[in-house]
C-alpha cells in the first residue's frame, strides 16, 4: 500500500472516530498503512485543559499525552482501507516512560510503529518528541472490536 502524507485534522477523522474534545492530532505527516505513522500536535494556551491543569502552571495532562500516542498509533492500521473509520479499544500499555513536561507553545511529534496486527489486535511501539527531545514512549496494544466479535467464545 502506498504511503499517505499530510493528512489534516478533518481528514484524520474519516479514519478514526475520536472527536473534540478528545481528539488531539493536528496532522498525520506520514502514514504507511500496516507499518508506521507519524503525527504532530502543537499546543496553544487555548487548549481546554490548560486553565485547569494547572491554573498557575499549565501543562499537558499525562492522560492526554497517552491518548495522543494512541491516536497516532491507530493510524498505522486504520489507514488500511478495510479498517478505515472503525472504532478502536485500548487493550494495554507497557513500559510507559514520561520524561518531559509539555507546556503551551510546545509541538510534539509522535512516531508509531506497528509490530503485529492479527485478528483485530494491534501491538506496537510509540514515542513522542518535543523539539527533538525525548518526551514519552510506550509499548501499546489496541484492538478493533468489530473484528474481535468474530471470536466470541461459545457459552
Amino acid at each position: 500500500m502506498e504511503a499517505l502524507f499530510n493528512i489534516g485534522a478533518y481528514e484524520i477523522q474519516e479514519y478514526q472516530q475520536n472527536r473534540y474534545p478528545m481528539f488531539f492530532l493536528d496532522v498525520i505527516e506520514e502514514a504507511r498503512p500496516g507499518e508506521y505513522a507519524r503525527g504532530r500536535k502543537s499546543f496553544t494556551y487555548n487548549e481546554w485543559y490548560f486553565p485547569v491543569h494547572f491554573a498557575d502552571e499549565p501543562n499537558v495532562p499525562g492522560m492526554i499525552q497517552i491518548e495522543l500516542l494512541a491516536q497516532t498509533f491507530i493510524m498505522t492500521f486504520l489507514t488500511i482501507p478495510e479498517h478505515k473509520g472503525k472504532k478502536t479499544a485500548f487493550l494495554g500499555m507497557n513500559n510507559m516512560r514520561m520524561r518531559k513536561k509539555i507546556v503551551p507553545g510546545d509541538t510534539i511529534v509522535v512516531e508509531a510503529t506497528l509490530k503485529s496486527f492479527k485478528r483485530g489486535v494491534a501491538t506496537g511501539y510509540v514515542e513522542g518528541r518535543v523539539g527533538g527531545e525525548f518526551a514519552l514512549s510506550a509499548d501499546i496494544k489496541i484492538g478493533l472490536p468489530d473484528m474481535m466479535r468474530e471470536f466470541i467464545p461459545k457459552k
Binding site: 487493550l91 492479527k118 485478528r119 489486535v121 484492538g143 474481535m148 471470536f151 466470541i152 467464545p153 457459552k155
Partner: protein
C-alpha cells in the same frame, strides 16, 4: 515464572482479577471478560507462550479450565 504462573498472570493482567478468582472463571464471569477482553487475554497468552491459537480454539476458549485443556494442543502444560 512457570507455566501456571504465566497462564494465571495473563488473566490477572487482562481482567484485573486475583488468583483466587481464577478457578471456575468463565467467559463473561467478570465484566472485563467480554469480547474485547477476550482478545486481550488471547494475545497475552500467545505472547507468554510464544504460540498462535487457531481460530476454532479462540472460540472454544470459554473458561479458565478450558484454556488449560486447549493449551495442551500447543505443547503447553499448565499444572
Amino acid at each position: 515464572m512457570n507455566n501456571k504462573e504465566k497462564y494465571n498472570n495473563a488473566f490477572i493482567v487482562s481482567f484485573d482479577v486475583t488468583e483466587d478468582q481464577l478457578a471456575g472463571l468463565e467467559y463473561q464471569g467478570v465484566p472485563a471478560w467480554d469480547s474485547v477482553g477476550h482478545m486481550g487475554l488471547i494475545s497475552e497468552i500467545e505472547d507468554a507462550f510464544d504460540i498462535q491459537f487457531e481460530t476454532d480454539d479462540i472460540v472454544d476458549f470459554n473458561s479458565y479450565e478450558k484454556g488449560i485443556e486447549l493449551l495442551k494442543k500447543y505443547d503447553v502444560t499448565v499444572e
